[in-house]
């Protein structure tokens, strides 16, 4: 298997519930439809996150085919890199499992003896390391996030180091929401290296509005070659939560 995959991810960093526009869960499902995985990290201070916020974070990641976690600011850097890595291997695992299913027929990888599965794991890891990775970090900068922005900045810088250390090529972009005019502002356009001088705290629109859903939809357009097909564009306009179908979304990964 001497192929490389292109993996796309949106990583949402937030501390609470969205309160305007399309449901973030629906937006995440929409991203997944475009082969973009959505990972979500909830950051909490001393105070616990509301049950509703926690649920939203979990459901967003589920609909977006990704992973979620809720952590303290100090754990953010490590969580960002772990979640990204896990989500990557998960995506590739799905694809590899699909391919193996075609070879193996009815039986799935789980039915393989463990030694064989160990080999499959090695192959998945190899593909993951060499794949091309595009990540948009979507940072909630609503007022309650203010105290956590330093940790977020640190995590962004740290993440860029991790990306640079991979064998495959990687790009990242950083956006904050809410934006000045639109739902999101692009703070760092696509780049392979992030300057640590980035000041997230400067130039922010401080408001109580948290348009997580609309921001995800706008972030989707940052990925090249992505045009919303008519039925999905409609979908975006009508913020109805759809039942996402689980299968078949990963088929078109470019291997």
């Amino acid at each position: 298997m001497n192929k490389t995959a292109t993996l796309r991810q949106i990583l949402v960093v937030t501390d609470g519930c969205s309160n305007v526009g399309i449901s973030p869960v629906a937006a995440a499902a929409l991203a997944r439809e475009q082969n973009i995985t959505v990972n979500v990290i909830g950051v909490i201070d001393r105070d616990e996150m509301s049950e509703q916020g926690e649920r939203e974070i979990r459901e967003m990641a589920k609909a977006g085919g990704g992973l979620s976690d809720i952590v303290y600011p100090a754990q953010l850097s490590q969580t960002v890199q772990m979640l990204t890595r896990k989500a990557m291997t998960r995506t590739i695992q799905h694809v590899v499992h699909q391919e193996l299913k075609e070879i193996l027929g009815d039986s799935s990888v789980v039915d393989l003896p463990p030694e064989k599965r160990v080999q499959v794991a090695g192959m998945v890891d190899e593909l993951g390391e060499r794949s091309h990775l595009d990540v948009v970090m979507l940072i909630d900068t609503s007022s309650s996030m203010k105290s956590k922005l330093k940790a977020v900045q640190q995590a962004i810088h740290d993440f860029s180091i991790s990306l640079r250390s991979r064998s495959g090529t990687s790009r990242m972009a950083v956006c904050s929401f809410p934006g000045k005019q639109k739902h999101l502002d692009v703070r760092i356009p696509w780049t392979e290296q992030v300057d640590k001088a980035l000041q997230l705290g400067s130039n922010l629109t401080m408001s109580g509005v948290t348009p997580t859903g609309p921001a995800i939809v706008e972030a989707i357009t940052l990925f090249e070659h992505v045009e919303l097909p008519a039925h999905l564009a409609d979908h975006y306009r009508s913020p109805v939560q759809r039942n996402q179908d689980d299968e078949g979304l990963l088929q078109d990964h470019v291997f």
Binding site: L67, D69, I70, L83, V118, A121, E129, S165, R166
Partner: protein
């Protein structure tokens, strides 16, 4: 993701779905990112069984353990004994069994026997790493928690961080990670492990409490250099430690050699009779160091 614990207590005895090996679990040893490790008995042999919450990561770890064991003459790490599935509560969990490594955690050991042992133990760690590096791997997650000492010998455990040289480091701990200290990236290079060894040395010399205090300071190299300068034990070894922090060593052997040289010159610099017994101690520990080196070479020769 939030919960890495297994949902139910594991059955006390179980047999693998594929290989039918039977295990009796005696106690839990601890749980990490990818699963929980239990002390168990299998066919009368003491083993450590790691049962995974995420089958992929667990199998990946087993794969690493298997890969580093390809070289039979120079085996690093516990022997991989079995990889299988366990059925319970209607679900299937993957697990692997490895040789049970007896011992005390490196930091606890040092606390008990004293800081004088640190350089000797580090030389051993560097020897183990050198073997791993020669085979094309970087350990990645070098930290006291992943090193056990038994019979005055160090043993590496937890191979979840082992990465092929040139790749990205698979798993790391921020305290010992050179990128977190703004001293480089996370590419799996030999110098990545050597940096972690240097930080680990600092941490061991300071002891838990003082180290915890440092953790809140700015993470960059000057912080570490200040600590080295201000600590009596550390300042003696400042040269090799600082060189490792700045990535000046290409191989573990080089660092080991210079660490040994420092140890030797320290022994020679100690006045023959000041507060009686010091020299004896140093000659003693140098002797032990050479014996250990000899022992460990023999160990790898005969494994």
């Amino acid at each position: 993701m939030s919960s890495n614990r297994l949902p139910l207590p594991v059955p006390v005895t179980f047999s693998g779905k594929w290989n039918q090996k039977q295990y009796t679990i005696l106690k839990e040893l601890g749980s990490g990112a990818n699963g929980t490790v239990y002390f168990a008995v299998c066919n009368g042999r003491k083993v450590a069984v790691k049962i995974g919450t995420d089958p992929f990561d667990l199998l990946m770890e087993a794969n690493m353990l298997k890969s580093v064991q390809a070289h039979r003459q120079e085996r690093i790490g516990p022997e991989l004994i079995d990889v299988d599935d366990l059925m319970y509560a209607g679900r299937s969990y993957s697990y692997y069994a490895m040789e049970y490594v007896k011992g005390e955690r490196l930091d606890e050991y040092v606390e008990r026997v004293g800081a004088d042992w640190i350089p000797v133990l580090m030389v051993q760690v560097l020897n183990r790493l050198a073997v791993l590096h020669r085979q094309g791997w970087v350990f990645g997650d070098v930290k006291p928690d992943n090193i056990l000492v038994w019979n005055k010998q160090v043993h590496l455990i937890d191979f979840g961080g082992v990465s092929q040289i040139g790749r990205a480091v698979r798993q790391f701990t921020e305290d010992y990670d050179r990128a977190s200290w703004q001293a480089g990236d996370r590419r799996a290079e030999r110098s990545y492990d050597l940096f972690a060894v240097a930080v680990m040395m600092i941490c061991l010399f300071l002891g838990r409490q003082d180290w915890d205090r440092i953790r809140c300071q700015v993470r960059h190299l000057p912080t570490l250099c200040d600590i080295i300068r201000d600590n009596k034990g550390l300042s003696l070894y400042s040269e090799p430690i600082i060189k490792a922090l700045y990535g000046k060593y290409v191989t573990a052997e080089e660092m080991k050699r210079e660490l040994l040289e420092t140890l030797r010159s320290r022994v020679q610099a100690t006045p023959a009779r000041k507060d009686g017994g010091t020299l004896d101690f140093w000659i003693g520990s140098l002797f032990v160091a050479s014996l250990l080196l000899l022992a460990s070479s023999l160990y790898y020769l005969w494994m």
